[in-house]
Symmetry: C2
Subunit: 251 residues, 2 copies
Amino acid sequence: MSPRRSYDQYCSAARALDAVGDRWTLLIVRELLGGPRRYTDLHADLPGVSTDVLASRLKDMERDGLATRRRLPPPGAAYVYELTGRGRELLPVLLALGSWGAPELAERRPTDAVRAHWFALPLLRALRERGETGEGLVEVGLEEGEFHLYVGADEDVTDATDVRDVRDVRDAEDVTAAKDREAGGAREAGQGGRPVYGEGRAPREPDARLVLDTGTCTALARGELTVPDAVRAGRIDVSGDSALAKALRAG
Amino acid sequence: MSPRRSYDQYCSAARALDAVGDRWTLLIVRELLGGPRRYTDLHADLPGVSTDVLASRLKDMERDGLATRRRLPPPGAAYVYELTGRGRELLPVLLALGSWGAPELAERRPTDAVRAHWFALPLLRALRERGETGEGLVEVGLEEGEFHLYVGADEDVTDATDVRDVRDVRDAEDVTAAKDREAGGAREAGQGGRPVYGEGRAPREPDARLVLDTGTCTALARGELTVPDAVRAGRIDVSGDSALAKALRAG
DNA sequence: CGGCATCCGTGACGATACTG
DNA sequence: CAGTATCGTCACGGATGCCG
């Protein structure tokens, strides 16, 4: 157990870094924004992290109210880690970081690991940026693999005015339930849910399906290209009959 | 010095953390967003950082294009560190982190250090959030000290040809930068200056002056209170005759 | 005196091995 | 599968010293 090394500064940014400034922590959050994950899955998608550091970070995140550990009901009974509402509120931080770091994707080093869903957050930002493209489930196909996005599924999360009493968050047994209650969205109460994206194909028929290559994806992430531009240039293939798909094709 | 430990992931957030994920780096950026600072000033406002780590981070930041080191002409010849344009683009990251960490300011530990200008970024966000309050130089008085904000001074970093902002920056720079005329000319105009805030009183007559207490300031930072609400509740004293001051008083 | 560089003790980190 | 144990290494924090 870490005695919690702190900057000891009465500054909100320093306080944030006390909680998420340790190595690997924000990348674990990036993974968990895609929904519940098992320890082994996290370890597989975070190449380079050692097993003890991963276990230690997950414990710290539990202690700090960022994540919870839950046992899945059989069959397939296993432990999964899942973000709390407080943890999911880190999405704007990861979006800002990703936006800032996007130019560095120009260089792709041979030592770089790649996962398809690492493009999920940048692409989500690109889809949002284009005004209100609408809401819905978007399935994305890349060379590296597939993932899906819940566009417009996190309305209040980006709005920081929504954060309040986190003092009792530590004591609360079910943080996510409390958050979901006040969020009003009230999906499954007691379920941590509402991931921002997911790995693999969409769990149901998506409202739209996009197929694009990695280069187009990084161009979108870097803001060099907008989604409608890429569609018009034929660099994104949009399929689907929903209003969302039509809006994406129309630009 | 450092062989640059990297996550080796083809992911924009991971790339960002390669550059700014090390301990102290983002807090150094927070300090430098207030304009050029000397080594000793940084060391004084980052209590807990060791001298070698600070020097090492500053070197890394230079190498990575986040900051530059510049020699001031005599008298008072000293080195100052200053953010590059790329470095200043980290402002959204610090705002997002500060927004997320604001609830933690509820607890003020006796070991916490405090500096008045640590409230500058949260307050800037609060002033911005209220639609377009306008632009201008705002002086702020707190119990802990004073600082000033350049509201609306960071519209678009890519727009380096904005003459008005450049003039404001000239005025904004400390005694130190005033002597930098000849050296700074050829540098990309927008690259160096344009701090987001500054320590101490405003360098010229501010467009508005706000006096408030720390509790009000943290409430603003946490989003529990809006600027107009606080003004109406008498928790902020707004003085000044400019349009900005009048707009702030009006709500 | 400001601006680091050096040295040193401690803790964090990364790789591997091992266990319920 | 989900971690714990062990160990070598490196980064960090504190102090001190050097040098202009």
